[in-house]
Symmetry: D2
């Protein structure tokens, strides 16, 4: 069987490296090219030392779209909205595009100036991108040629709350979500300076993180209306990988614990990457894998849902490949069967 | 000036070690004795290698109460309620007692079977202990001879919410609080096993942690009624020291941001250990010190309060000494002036 | 093709879990059974939460050797020497055995009382076990039915020094090797207590670690005589996975840097798991993989060799599977192609 | 008593912050001013959040030397050699100077181009600076007005080896020394990027670190000749604070273990900051303090010495204050009595 030819824009960052790592063992895909403006012409393993001996690929400056079937966009936020219109103009609808940035996640262009502090450059494309949270939006992704891969906080939070939204739960959800440092990318900044990140906790953007509107959008589409309002406080945690999201919301009057748990069992039946776990999850049970572990408990009129993912796998590159699998009509777990590392 | 003679029951644990470390440089105190059932007769530095060369004290099996003015109880939960009645019977009211366990924190004996899974053994003493959260209960501590030192989660959470309670804010407060591993004590357990604690996050006892009722109790006493209900999810974090508490609650209708912030400025005026900080706090700015950094923000009808403490200092031994200072009528910062370590 | 039927004795520990994780994706192997005395009859994922949803296997109390082609022994040190004679008596030479403990690594039974503080219980078997350090002992392993899988420190150190031994370098080698906490196993102990292991370094067993004689033994067999003496100081490091070994030895008089580097290029040509790297290696480039990264530099008459492995993969379970592959005449990388995680 | 007036050049870095933290509780010193080119005119606590509420000092752009008795130079390497000649020209010998950089540590100007890749700009001053390793050079420091504070690796290594040098031990010493990330300073770089520093080990500058010649210089001065050659491999470790140095050297023929241990007892009698410990030291027993824990063992003709310090305290700012105390004829522990934190 001829393999699908895949290219990566922005292959030298953490999500780019994770895409390469995972695609190298994907049986239906040939990784044809990856770009880097920092390492053009140099071996991929210079940026990703784990890949030494695993691939002889070198970074290029540009992708040759004519030779590719699918591209992953793993560059910075803002790059995709600048480049995608020209790519589509050049390639027509033939080329599938999976964008890992936030550029095409929101349907409503009016939200971009609010949450991303800039006007959208290609608003006519917003409705053409499917929101790539497979477990909550599989039918749309199946038909899509353009997919906006969800944010890492959004993935963990939406998977935690999606069943409640479907079930009609309403109210304000308090979410505290802790992220590993790899979520900040490969360039050193004060936020990722080891001496001060190590052993520390530091919240940031309380109530104002840009992943909030994409979660509210998918929850609204599942509920049929704006039932759930997201009140999110992100925290920078002292580990490299993982998102750990703790969500609390009022139990609807008269609901039993079973009714809540049934929503989860029903929503994730057939979604092997989401595991409903009987005690609070651990990052080290999901890290390295495409799993999202979800725990639900109810007490005294309150629902608590906790979810855990690897931010670079289920929260980025693994999910992007899962989207590819779904778009192609393949088993959605192809190339993503690895279990997490523990410990 | 004659120094106050101090003894410690349970000096070989982490809070015991921290008491010794801090008391050794307290100018008004002489550390006369510390007990350990594991290291009786052996130098303190065998249990606490940081103290080698700093003290020639050896652990004893028992305290000689007749020679002491104050004792700190730093043994396990349940020990204090077993022992304090006999101590008081022996010493009369002369001996001051500061208990670091949960045994005397709750006024209502009916709560013990619910939250601590056992009946209280000395319920007649519960009302005689002052709850030792200085910034929120200073007048009562000033007059007390018996003080129940608050729990670490309780300290961080109550300091975050006390001003709201005083100000009349009502509702359910969603709290996610992350703790360092030293909070689990000096004995190895699966929860503190390095390979699985490292780089991990794992919630536990969601909605059922035993520090919940002591927070609700102090908030009720500040408010004059049961206005605030605590909905707490604790998390085991991958660091050794610190409690980081993120609290969310609805803003009362019609309230301004300033009104909220004024509550904090007013509540903590004159309380030098609580620092109101203009951006979310960091553990590494408080660890090693008796500070509690508190941040407040308001948006879209929601209040977020975040607090950070060193669980072994402000969350245990430092606060115990602060209680001693207040009981003695000394400057409450005596012996506790050290700044935190950063980084 | 009929798959090889594999069993694991001691499947609930870290090396057991890693064996299961890796064998589940090995294309030529069927994991038929794994024992646990702690979790008999219970699902494997109770011990290894990463494997939830990946296998429906439950632990058994005993293996049925008649139904197995190969067994991995991943129990405690001392178990294998007690059990292997009976296993062989029962199964005859048909059953292949790969022992991950230290019980059969040393050819000379006189070394056991010295380094393992007990007499060997099955000395007649010592010479029948091949020492399973593939890159340095492949021919013997190919013919073996019994393999003693090397220790984690031994693997990192012997791979660093093997080429020097082959090349005739002599002298005392100073080695400092830092290990992750997973090397101490799944049971909590003071050495793996998170509050004190975190952010700490602590050497142990300086000059007396039990992996020393197995390294000297393989180096002697490569050199043809006792040329290299190992002077090893192990350190407990504050991370979960990895061995980082720094070795120093005098450069033989008259030798050039090239001569040294040629020894490595020659020794590891065709050994894809050993990667010769042009700058000092990183644990995060090998962790999660079966790689050993090796760096060599020469200056002022001194050779420095630094090696890095994942202690649970190349230092234990991955290497055990590599040994299986070699014994079976398969490509030695089958089932072990995964790249390390980075970051 | 009039307090000594102290100024700091470069107060916004980690060593600057640590100097401020420690000097604020030094009873004989008034911290008069600290400069920062990044935060001029801004409160010290903006750079060092631990100091909020502990000092009202703001950074200045320049020091007014006329108003100061002592200055600490905590700027970058190369600044001191550029500025000190002018400072001395302006102030004459009145002003004491303690330089924390590497600019004045080596007596031989010919070493600067080799180890620091540049010619020295004030070679005439090199002999006027005392090397500030108090325990090994106290008499010279007592008389000095100019002190070069040792490097962090140099402090740990020289304290480990000084007694051997004094005792006449000769040979090549293999040293592996692991450093915390705060040693790289406050500016984010790839070396201190949390995602890749976390859980990692990575050696750098094997045999070529610039602290080598200052250790060899002090050892030579103690021995009276070049007896000990330093063969040092530094490693970047995954913790924020600490230097852990493991040293190995041949035992001289005929020497007993006692003879070696006596050298240490004798060398450090009366030096309270150096603690001879009976088992390998731990970073968490010294971190936060000015201690250096030293362990010595002998076996099979080899000596192993292991030392542990807090790189920012004994390895930098604490030692600088210790030097001040010695220069002033004060008890050398004034202001430095704090015990380390544990855990």
């Amino acid at each position: 069987m001829k393999k699908l030819r895949v290219g990566i824009e922005g292959g030298a960052g953490f999500t780019g490296g994770e895409l390469i790592r995972l695609l190298l063992s994907h049986p239906k895909v040939e990784l044809a090219a990856a770009t880097s403006s920092t390492f053009p012409g140099q071996p991929v393993f210079l940026a990703h030392p784990n890949l030494r001996g695993r691939t002889s690929l070198s970074f290029t400056r540009k992708l040759d779209y004519a030779k590719l079937d699918v591209i992953f966009l793993a560059g910075g936020h803002g790059d995709a909205m600048s480049n995608v219109p020209a790519i589509i103009a050049e390639t027509g609808p033939r080329l599938r595009i999976i964008d890992l940035s936030g550029d095409f996640r929101l349907k409503d262009e009016a939200l971009y100036p609010v949450w991303y502090t800039r006007k959208h450059k290609a608003p006519e494309l917003l409705k053409k991108f499917a929101y790539g949270l497979v477990e909550l939006n599989r039918p749309e992704i199946r038909k899509a040629r353009l997919v906006a891969n969800p944010g890492c906080f959004a993935t963990a939070t939406a998977l935690a709350l999606g069943p409640l939204a479907k079930g009609g739960v309403a109210g304000v959800v308090s979410v505290t979500a802790i992220t590993g440092s790899s979520g900040s990318g490969i360039s050193p900044t004060p936020i990722t300076h080891h001496p001060t990140r190590h052993s520390n906790m530091k919240a940031y953007k309380p109530f104002t993180h840009q992943h909030i509107p994409e979660v509210e959008q998918i929850l609204e589409s599942l509920a049929g209306r704006k039932n759930l309002k997201l009140s999110l406080v992100p925290i920078s945690g002292p580990f490299a990988r993982g998102i750990y999201a703790v969500c609390q919301v009022d139990l609807p009057k008269g609901w039993s614990t079973e009714r809540v748990k049934d929503l989860y069992a029903s929503a994730y039946k057939g979604s092997s990457f989401v595991r409903l776990v009987p005690e609070p999850p651990s990052l080290n049970a999901v890290n390295g894998s495409n799993h999202c572990d979800v725990y639900v408990t109810v007490q005294d009129g309150r629902i608590c849902v906790i979810s855990a993912i690897d931010n670079l796998v289920k929260g980025a590159s693994g999910q992007a490949i899962q989207n590819l699998n779904v778009m192609m009509g393949w088993d959605e777990a192809v190339g993503l069967e690895m279990a997490g590392h523990y410990p």
